[in-house]
Amino acid sequence: MESKVQSPKSGIPGPHLALVGALLVAGGVGLCSDWIDPYHLDVLTNIGINVILAVSLNLVNGHTGQFSLGHAGFMSVGAYLAAAVTLNLAPRLFGPDGGAAGPTALLFLGALLAGGLAAALAGLLVGVPSLRLKGDYLAIVTLGFGQIIVVLFQNFEPLGGALGLNGIPPYTTVGWVLAWAAVAVFTVGCLVRSTYGRGFLAVRDDEVAAAALGLDPTRYKTVAFVVGAFFAGIAGGLYAHFRLTITPGGFDFTKSIEIVVMVILGGMGNTLGVILAAVLLTLLPEVLRPVAEYRMILYSLLLIGLMLVRPQGLFCFKRGRTN
């Protein structure tokens, strides 16, 4: 697969500089958010969250070639844990009026990281047994785990049961989301391009050959799964503090599918394409809002049409890759 091995020239020179730049842009957008239309801010926030989800799933599905259908499950773990942390700690620390910007930001960061780590742990627990399976079987097992996580949350009364959690403090701002999206893209991008990360591509392209070269496929798959789950958890935390209400039903199979569609439309393993697909698929329902009645019909027709016309992904302009 020489087409996947990018020469140093094709990458952005100095990914760290790019990350700093992106974080500055995120901070800038966050500061100007008072002058931006609230509707546009909402859409931008949604885009950012979906970019994190799609890029993290791309590490598992695209770069490592392990088809996971349970990403929304990990997202829900992060969302619930982060929301539980802020719901329990914010009133105790800051009283009823909310605290100053600094301490709240620290608390939010802590909550997000806790959510991400919990999701990563869930990823490890799910990944270790299920990554022994391949292809369709792996897809269906991850789907099963995703559904089980939803049912567990539905039955866990301390976290609201089927009604979910309400009144989560509105900590998510557009700056937070864009900053985390930048971190996710940076981490996944650098991980895959590193010497170590070539292993992910090797495992995807030919597992047997990778094992023959002395790489441990299971280990690579698990690492990809855990890192992907971590960022899904972060995205979940951001989502919870953006929507302010979360229910287990919001993280079911349909949500996982939505993320998978972004990855496939973007072109599996093509980071830029996946980001564009996430942006496009978030904007699409908004654009179709005037024909709301036919929105889902048009969405699914577009999906089928795109798969028929461009099976290699919308934004993949290299030679088509087949399995």
């Binding site: 088809f67 399976l133 079987y137 269906i140 097992v141 047997v208 496939i264 699914s300 999906l303 089928i304």
Partner: protein
């Protein structure tokens, strides 16, 4: 003991429906090696057809019930063949994941078409009692005529399928395509026709399953296929995907286990999780399913 038998009967009638749907998954997987996610919507369309036809007919008659069943199977067979012709055939030979996503697209399309208020709308509707209703008591075990219809119809259809697959030329061609499509084509099997007929048969079974399901849980709505569809898929994997007796066995096991868990006092809310837990256990211990054969990996 009495309660055990009662739950067993309930479980078997639910399992028979899962088995009918699972057969469609397993047949399509057998010939094309992909998960037809739109199958659960074919099941829904079957129930919808039954609902639309059943309302026009006098209720509680045997012939009416059979007409409803036949109409649903016919419509679903045509729908399955149409989906195959328009969507899956152009994609044959491309990456499995693309076909999978397209199947999900078809599934979303059917759901959203039926959710449109002019077609059906989102409100659940009561399914008419098309078969005569009577309740029997066998030694304290209550058995409704609908449950009996489910079990008998499912058993007949499964025996019929078994005969088609093992006793007819079409069945032989289907098995040949499942074994090796290229070789089958070389010996003169018309692959396109065989695959289309496989879709027709599987979809007809799903349509019958839809009517039978709607009879026992008497409402229909556009999203009704999602959960039974997923569970039937689990049943197909449990029995060994690609294996027809496996799908029947998997469906029966899953339906029974689910009914027992749903009937127990403190596990009932975990009913939906149990299907997937069973699946994960089976796949981890025996990834080919109960009756599946191990395919050696070629390098």
């Amino acid at each position: 003991m009495q309660e055990f038998l009662q739950q067993l009967v309930n479980g078997l009638s639910l399992g028979a429906i899962y088995a009918l749907i699972a057969l469609g998954y397993t047949m399509v997987y057998g010939v094309l090696r992909f998960i037809n996610f739109a199958h659960s919507e074919v099941f829904m369309v079957g129930a919808m057809t039954g609902w639309a036809v059943g309302r026009q007919l006098p209720q509680g008659t045997w012939w009416g019930g059979l007409v409803v069943l036949g109409a649903a199977m016919l419509v679903c067979a045509l729908l399955g063949m149409t989906i195959e012709r328009l969507v899956y055939r152009p994609l044959r030979g491309t990456a499995t994941l693309n076909v999978l996503i397209t199947a999900i697209g078809v599934s979303l399309l059917l759901q959203s078409v039926f959710q449109h208020p002019r077609v059906f709308g989102a409100t659940p509707q009561l399914f008419p009692p098309v078969f005569p209703e009577r309740n029997f008591a066998l030694g304290g075990v209550a058995l409704s005529s609908n449950q009996l219809v489910v079990i008998v119809v499912a058993a007949l259809l499964m025996v019929g399928l078994e005969l088609v697959v093992h006793r007819t030329r079409l069945g032989m061609a289907m098995r040949a395509v499942a074994l090796n499509p290229q070789a089958a084509q070389l010996v003169g099997v018309n692959i396109n026709a065989v695959i289309a007929l496989t879709f027709a048969l599987g979809s007809a079974l799903a349509g019958a399953g839809g009517v039978l399901y709607a009879l026992n849980y008497p409402t229909v709505e556009p999203l009704m296929g999602v959960m039974p569809g997923l569970k039937a898929f689990v049943a197909a994997v449990l029995g060994g995907i690609g294996s027809i007796p496996g799908a029947a066995l998997g469906g029966l096991i899953l339906g029974t286990v689910e009914t027992f868990v749903g009937g127990s006092a403190w596990l009932s809310t975990y009913k939906d999780a149990i299907a997937f837990a069973v699946l994960i256990l089976i796949l981890l211990c025996r990834p080919t399913g109960l009756l599946g054969r191990v395919a050696p990996e070629k390098v």
